[in-house]
């Protein structure tokens, strides 16, 4: 039993458990010390209860030390939060002399769909997930991460109810697998997501490449040569890129895969003569088949007419 209000007060209210599974019973007792209640004359105080504003009757009996005690059983608590007021009839009014906060809910649902992305700007690892079913109780959500060899568990806490947070660089171990998972804890239990085992670098989000120049090369043929570069901060990575091209009337994109390196030129032929094409390129780390970068800004180019 959890005592609320010291023994010196007019009344003290104790509840069986402050948090119960939704729909289950709540028991409470209210002990009145007549001499501590200002103005309560002799005679037997009549104790009653309010569940928020709903009157409830308890079973009243004489308690130890001249106290009066009322025992209450709420058969089914069906709202997430309620106030249980202990009252005493006095001068024709219902006086509130004690209160206890009670809650009903469910154990937290299991978080799912955990995925993470490494920002190559500040090397923060941002993870997102889907919240489990709402337990209607104050719930503590945390993303936890552990490096393979050390027992220390760190991570981050989502702010203002978002289902994402960012593990700062100083807690990460790069180029080695780490374990990440989400925990949700409330008064009725804890739930954990599946564990994600990844090397943060394998989920790095690359910057899109930049298409520098596009020329018909050799001139007046169906061949085109493009030059492209990557941002310096991706320069240390071995990349695998792909180029897509398309004339406005084409139903879909043509794709040229397997382009390696950080910058360079790409030549491709069999383009239509004198036709306007849109070109875009994207890259990803060759090592881990991680996330593709966004497509580069589109570049347009009209191929040469056929040599006469």
């Amino acid at each position: 039993t959890q005592q609320s209000g010291a023994e010196l007060d007019c009344a003290s209210v104790a509840v069986g458990a402050p948090v119960v599974p939704m729909g289950s019973a709540v028991t409470a007792s209210c002990t009145i010390r007549r001499e501590r209640c200002r103005g309560l004359e002799d005679g037997q105080p009549l104790i009653s209860w309010l569940l928020d504003s709903e009157p409830m009757a308890g079973r009243q009996r004489r308690g130890v030390g001249g106290t009066e005690v009322s025992e209450l059983r709420v058969p089914q608590l069906n709202r997430p939060q309620a106030k249980l007021w202990c009252c005493v009839e006095w001068n024709g009014t219902k006086q509130r002399v004690g209160v206890a906060e009670i809650r009903a809910g469910y154990p937290p649902g299991k978080p799912s769909n955990l995925s993470c992305l490494l920002d190559l700007g500040d090397y923060g690892l941002t993870c997102r997930w889907q919240q489990g079913a709402d337990g209607h109780l104050p719930t503590n959500i945390m993303l936890k991460c552990a490096t393979s060899r050390s027992p220390a568990v760190t991570g981050c806490t989502p702010q203002n109810g978002h289902s994402q947070c960012t593990v700062p660089r100083r807690l990460l171990q790069l180029y080695r697998p780490m374990e990440l998972w989400v925990t949700a804890t409330n008064a009725l239990g804890t739930a954990e997501s599946e564990r994600l085992r990844i090397d943060p670098m394998d989920v790095a989000k690359l910057d899109p490449p930049t298409l520098q120049s596009i020329r018909s090369m050799p001139p007046q043929t169906d061949c085109v040569t493009l030059t492209w570069t990557m941002t310096p901060r991706n320069a240390h990575m071995e990349l695998r890129c792909e180029l897509r091209y398309r004339a406005p009337e084409d139903p879909s994109w043509g794709v040229l895969t397997g382009i390696a390196g950080h910058a360079g030129t790409v030549q491709h032929c069999k383009f239509l003569f004198g036709t306007l094409y849109h070109f875009q390129m994207r890259c990803r780390r060759d090592l881990a088949r991680g996330y593709w970068s966004e497509w580069s800004v589109s570049r347009n180019y009209t191929t040469h007419e056929k040599a006469p």
Binding site: S4, A6, D9, C10, G39, L40, N91, R96
Partner: protein, 177 residues
């Protein structure tokens, strides 16, 4: 010159009208905090809390010299200042009770201190004896035996402060022309 004679003095009348407005502002802020206690803890009317009223000397702020019968302006002003000083300290208990209203409570404490120093400076301008209440000499806010007692304590600090301000307001208005 006795205070009554000065009542016609323009500066004194301007002081009164300004600080009547100031008192109305403070009363409005106290009412806002009373609504917050009602909304948050469902403690809304004194009639329901007679049996658990905290000890009478929760805040020492007598205003007996401000009532019409034995109205003694100089002593009344001093009693108002002492009461503002006491309520400034006891509002610390409301600060703990309503963490989401910290700015409003701190503004209320600032206003109570300002109103007290406005009255002090006006008394000095009128050549009346004034007691300097050292700003640093603060008494700690009252403490309570449990969460319910803290909520009831906060409720009565605000209710009593509102009553105190009503009496002070009537005293100041009594001096206006």
């Amino acid at each position: 010159a006795p205070l009554a004679e000065l009542s016609g003095d323009h500066d004194f009348q301007l002081f009164l009208h300004k600080n009547l407005e100031f008192t109305r502002k403070i009363r409005g802020d106290v009412a806002a905090l009373q609504r917050a206690v009602c909304d948050t803890f469902q403690l809304c009317t004194e009639e329901e809390l007679q049996l658990v009223q905290p000890d009478p000397h929760l805040v020492q702020a007598p205003l007996d010299q401000c009532h019409k019968r034995g109205f003694q302006a100089e002593v009344c002003f001093t009693q108002i200042r002492a009461g503002l000083h006491a309520y400034h300290d006891s509002l610390g208990a409301v600060l703990r009770l309503l963490p989401n209203h910290t700015t409003l409570v701190e503004t209320l404490q600032l206003d109570a201190a300002n109103l007290s120093s406005n009255i002090q400076q006006q008394m000095e301008d009128l050549g009346l004896d004034t007691v300097t209440l050292p700003a640093e000499q603060r008494s700690p806010p009252p403490t309570f035996s449990g969460p319910f007692q803290q909520q009831v304590g906060g409720f009565f600090i605000l209710a009593n402060f509102q009553r105190f301000l009503e009496t002070a307001y009537r005293a100041l208005r009594h001096l206006t022309r």
